[in-house]
Amino acid sequence: MELIYMDHAATTPLDQRVLEYMLPTLQDVYGNASSVHRKGQEARKLVEEARSKIAEVIGATPREIYFTAGGTEADNLAIFGVAEALGLTKGRHLITTSVEHHAVQDSFLKLQEIGFDITFLPSDQYGRVNPQDVAEAIRPDTILVSIMHANNEIGTIQPIAEIGKITREKGVYFHVDAVQTVGHIPVDVQTMNIDLLSLAAHKFYGPKGIGALYVRRGVRVKPHIYGGAQERGLRAGTENVPGIVGMGKAIELAVAEMEERGKKEIYLRDKLIEGILKIPDVRLNGHPTERLPGNVNVSILYIEGESILLSLDLEGICASSGSACTSGSLDPSHVLLNIGLDHATAHGSLRLTLGKDNTEEEVDRVLEVLPTVVHRLRVMSPIWPENLLK
């Protein structure tokens, strides 16, 4: 049975061209990039090349890019870093949304716990935030607005450029979690007026365990991890040279091939959505058009997500769900709840996220398998209307 991987929002395979590019740093270029000697300097050179590539792609300068261990750490650094830099002087109010990734949400909950004042903006039924709401929420003591570029679960893209205009006008820092968008859709920190931007390589066919935070020149951020003087004092720890080098290569390839990949993914995505919506009692989650090229998210009524995933997995199809059983907590996805789904509908969510190597045959196979799986589980379900006790 051929495996069909449709969980690219969770992680992407490492592009083999990236692996090949990384290999020297896993072999002969083993020096510590902070060492004075040639083994250190050859590593340093590759690190700085990667930094330049990343900067170029998002419209930044190399000195504005700081490597972290991933998207989560980049988000933590941005949020705790700004809170600490400005919390005792400019103010203690921060604004975010109710549909952020846990890396952002939980950082804000932590800040709230230690006495910061956090506004969680609502979203509409598609998961979109209203820029006007952002404008109205900003106060004199607001130090940061943090809003994701696109949602990892439902794929909805936020009006970042519009919000950036507002935050810039009001003189408030703007952080954007772009973990799901960099390498997939255009991101430009200049035209979008972004001050801090989080990236993670493993979402664009780069290695796991490496990410970066863009920090606009002059923006004040305190470190979150203390120690050596790496990353110009903002992020201590021996540089993950292979990770950094792989991230640089991956972003280069992703941007070069973005248009082509995007077109194909959108075509397959729309075919998938159309096909799945033919199953009765299924609803699309997320925005119908303002959504990531590869994202499909539906709620399938009367059945639970994990059991759908297991059934698909038995057919060789890899997917994900916002069901509590897969969320690592007792509740289903806060994103699904916050766009207005009830618990049962959220439990029945199914996310299929396409990548550059998915094919139309794979989409066809999913559309063949899924209705059977759904029917089988519904027949088993005590809440399927046909099974209700009279």
């Binding site: 639970e304 997500g305 059991s307 297991l310 069901s323 059983c325 618990h343 439990h347 088993m380 006790l389």
Partner: protein, 124 residues
Amino acid sequence: MEYTDKVMDHFQNPRNMGKIDNPSAVGEVGNATCGDIMRIYLDIEEDVIKDVKFQTYGCGAAIATTSIMTELVKGKKLEDALKVTNANVAEELGGLPPVKMHCSNLAADALQAAIEDYKNKNQE
């Protein structure tokens, strides 16, 4: 999920899945908010479980535990059935991931609810 082969077998081929027309008793526990609902139908003759069927809304562990529970109690006297189920549904499945242990409790609760229903009806 790190499910055992036995769990996956019961998930794929659930035993006694379905309903009993005119059952002696029905028990249902859980709700869609918490993510698991189990319903047990019993056909009881002289305090012996002649037949048992289930319907489950929930994760793989929920379906597998209800399935194996029905296997364990089918043909048993009610008093023995109550003992079996409280004990080791999970063990029978070769273990469950820690986060899924509540499923085996729920399966036991569903059976108890059904037997409770039977007793209530028979008292009348």
